[in-house]
Amino acid sequence: MSTHTTTPPGTFDARQVKQDFPILQQTVHGKPLTYLDSAASSQKPLVVIEALDAYYRASNANIHRGVYWLSEHATALYDEAREKVARFINAPDPRSCVFVRNATEALNLVAYSWGRANLEPGDTVVLTLLEHHSNIVPWQIVTAERGATIRYVDIDHDGRLRLDQLDHYLRTERVKLVGVTHVANALGTINPVAEIAARAHAAGALVLVDGAQSVPHMPVDVQALDVDFLAFSGHKMLGPMGIGVLWGRREILEAMPPFLGGGDMIREVTTCGSTWADLPAKFEAGTPSVGDAVGLGAAIDYLTALGMDAVRAHEREIVAYALERLAQVPGVTLYGPTGEDRAGVVSFTLDDIHPHDIASILDSEGVAIRAGHHCAQPLMDRLGVVATARASFYVYNSEEDVDRLADALQTVRRIFGPGA
């Protein structure tokens, strides 16, 4: 990693951090690449790429099977990656950190395993309008199967959750689980998860947190939040694609039936039936993505060295600058809260120009943003828009990137004409 000698302790210089990311050194369409889509997927520092390379050069074998040295070595690396994950989210027990492909798979695991075993006709699952489709669709499938109901907590004008509605559902219905995103991927709202968990627990409901947009960007402590499940993806936190994590309270995970059946998740198989392995193997059927877990471990080391408080402080600064700078572009409408509860995501529209046209023109200026419904169609409906443009920031983005975005938006206005 770069040495950050000129910055005060507890902070870092994003322009120096950017030097650690080979992919960000290139130009696209003859312009320097300005990558503002980390909420969709983050880029990878050299140390992560090298960790993957080293794993496949020197350590690759199937785990938990071979009695030979290489297999034991790969198994040790896999276990070490799990321990890093546990420390990163302050999980009391690494065995409660289940490796999955991504946050989507983690959320599906909870819905299919816990949901099928625990939801009864007449039960309610409370979700919010800020959820990503991955925390909606699995519940729609499983509640339909079980005869249970989904309620959605609405947002206020600033894009903050209406906790009074949560209280109403908790008071008037048999709520078994509250599923809430820690940070809204489309608006950047940081939800008061600890507060929501306290209210849900008081009503006897479990709390499932989608941490895909929070774990990469701020300190997340599952014990301090006092939640029951946390799902997140490695690829959004500088790690490889294909690895994600479900953390669950140990006694809940132990009581849950398996999600996928196969090798590694059994204790004994007979023609009459099978018994299950202990955690976490019970939920890790088949050969896992060991190399990607090792890569995630390297990403966690990198983030830990930067310091998650510093990561959050950096994003707080850059999003404040972005909100200020974009507000100066005529025709821009900004969505989401402004304040301490805003993560490094800026959703916006420009006049009535379709976000795909905005994104195409920005692309020609080397600026990569996301345009669309951000897998949050219920939220788009609620906001009364078909789609928005979204810029999202991470450790390698500096104010220079925000300036390039703002300048490129002026190009969009020039092409479409004022009041287009």
Binding site: H354, S360, G372, H373, V386, T411, I415, G417
Partner: protein, 127 residues
């Protein structure tokens, strides 16, 4: 500069040709791109086996709306076989700008609607 947004495309987007609906149309069809919400509806009046009148309405990005507008000009007076033979490349050629893979669906939405309308029937309606 953005090659995609040449003046003829922006002109069709700002001043769409054949924009509107046809009362008592012989054929109407509507479709959308679920991913981006682009939407196009095409109404047609048929006379002597040919498109006597075609109008479209829609909303969405400049590429989807401009290509639908261009398409209506291309097929005025065409018969059913000509519509069926119309290819994606014909539309892309008419647009005359490089369309990236991510935007092809936008560019071809109008054609998809027109083809769906044409393939949905075995023959033009009789009068």
């Amino acid at each position: 500069m953005a090659d995609l947004y040449r003046e003829n495309i922006l002109d069709h987007y700002r001043n769409p040709r054949n924009y509107g609906t046809i009362e008592n149309a012989d054929i109407s069809y509507e479709d959308s791109n679920p991913l981006c919400g682009d939407r196009v509806r095409i109404d047609m009046r048929i006379e002597d086996g040919k498109i006597a009148e075609i109008k479209f309405t829609g909303r969405g990005c400049a590429i989807s709306q401009a290509s639908a507008s261009m398409l209506t000009e291309m097929v005025e007076g065409a018969d059913l076989d000509e519509i069926r033979e119309l290819s994606a490349q014909d539309i892309l050629d008419e647009l005359g700008v490089p369309i990236s893979p991510a935007r092809v669906k936008c560019a071809l939405l109008g054609l998809k609607v027109l083809k769906s309308a044409a393939y949905g029937i075995t023959d033009w309606p009789e009068h």
